[in-house]
Symmetry: C2
C-alpha cells in the first residue's frame, strides 16, 4: 500500500499514527500542499476532492478521508485495536474523534484559512484559534469524565489518534492549551509511545524545518 | 432512547434517516437552534459542544456526533445494514459520507455562517455555496464510478444517508445541483423510500413552514 500525505497535515498524521500503532508498513508518497501538488491532474484522478491522506491499495483502488482509511485499517488489521469492544465506549471514542475530525479541523485547514484571509480579508489565525478553543473545550469536558490513561479509558484509541495532531495545531495557532489539563495529560501519555513519536511531522522525510 | 434534534439540521436528519431505515423508534426532543436552546446549561451538560444530534440512552448515557450515533446504531441494530460487507466498499461508503460530514457540512453550519456574516462581514450564502459546490463536485466524481442504484452499489448505505440532506442544503444556498447527475439520480432513488420520506425536515413536528 502507498500513503500519499504531507508532513504537517494533521489528517495524514492521524493515518500515520494508526499505521505505526498497528505495525503496518506502507510506502509514503509526499504531496507538497504548499506548492499545489494536490491539484495536479494525476493526483486529482485518485483524490477528486484534492485532499490527502490518500491510501492506494496494491490493486490500485484508492481511499481518501482519514476516518474511512483508519476504519479500513481497523477492519483489515484488527490487532492492536483502536476501538474498544463495548458499543457505548466505541461510540464515545468515535464521538471524540469526530469532534476533531468534523468539528474543528475542517475549520482550520489550509484551504479554509486561505479563503478567510484572501476572500474575506479576515484574520485567519484568529479564525482558527476561535474554532480550536471552542472544540477543545468541549473535548476537555467529555474527556474529563471518560479518560483514564488515554482519552476514553486506559487503552489507546481513535480518540487519541485524532487528539494529538489537533493539540499541535492548537499551539501553532496560539490557542491557550493550559485550559485543557485532561487533554494535555493524555497527550503526554500518547507521546511516550513509539507509534506516536514515529508519526510526528518532524520525523517525516518531507518536513521543512523552518516553515511557519 | 431519546433523540435531541432540530427539524432543519442536516446532522439530525441523518440520524433520523438511520433510525427510520432500521425501524428503531425513539422519542424525539426538539432543540430550537434559532432561539439558542442548544446553549442552555441543561443541554450543554449532555452535549458540551452545544450541538445536536444527541442520542440519550435509556440509562442516561449520551452520544453526540452523527457519525458516532449512526455507527452505534449500526453495531447494536445491524439489520438492515447501512454498511456493505466488503472492506473496500465499506471504506468507500465511509469516504463519501465523510466528504459530506467533515468536508462540506462543517463549513456551512449555522454557527460558522453567523461568524462569516457578523465577524468577517462576509457573504455567508456565497461562502456556503462555494464549499458545497466544491465538495459535491468531488462526490459526483467518486459516485460516477461507484454508484449503482445508490451511492455505492445497489444497496442503501451511510453514503446515501449523508448525501440527501446535503443536496437539500445545496439548493437552499443556491448551488447549481444540475452539475451532479449521478447524485441527483441517487437522491431520487432514496426519496422514493419510506425511511427517507419520514426523516425529511418538513415532516418533523417542530418544522416551521415559512422560515428561510
Amino acid at each position: 500500500m502507498k500513503l500519499y500525505g504531507y508532513w504537517r497535515s494533521s489528517s495524514a498524521w492521524r493515518v500515520r499514527t494508526a499505521l505505526a500503532y498497528k505495525g503496518i508498513r506502507v510506502e509514503g508518497v509526499p504531496v507538497n500542499l504548499r506548492v499545489g501538488e494536490q491539484h495536479e491532474p494525476g493526483f486529482v484522478a485518485k483524490s477528486p476532492a484534492h485532499t490527502i491522506p490518500l491510501l492506494e491499495l496494491d490493486d490500485g483502488r484508492c481511499i481518501t478521508q482519514s476516518m474511512a482509511i483508519i476504519s479500513y485499517l481497523e477492519e483489515t488489521h484488527p490487532e492492536p485495536p483502536l476501538l474498544p469492544k463495548d458499543p457505548v465506549h466505541r461510540a464515545w471514542v468515535r464521538e471524540q474523534a469526530e469532534l476533531v475530525n468534523s468539528g474543528i479541523q475542517p475549520l482550520q485547514n489550509l484551504m479554509v484559512l486561505m479563503r478567510v484571509k484572501h476572500e474575506l480579508k479576515g484574520d485567519d489565525t484568529a479564525w482558527a484559534a476561535h474554532w480550536i478553543a471552542l472544540g477543545l473545550s468541549a473535548l476537555e469536558a467529555l474527556a474529563e469524565s471518560r479518560a483514564g490513561r488515554f482519552s476514553v479509558g486506559d487503552a489507546v484509541s481513535l480518540a487519541d489518534v485524532y487528539l494529538v495532531p489537533q493539540l499541535y495545531n492548537a499551539r501553532r495557532f496560539g490557542a491557550d492549551v493550559t485550559r485543557f489539563p485532561t487533554l494535555l495529560r493524555v497527550e503526554a501519555a500518547c507521546l511516550a509511545l513509539p507509534a506516536f513519536q514515529e508519526a510526528h511531522p518532524d520525523r517525516q522525510p518531507d518536513a521543512v524545518k523552518d516553515s511557519k
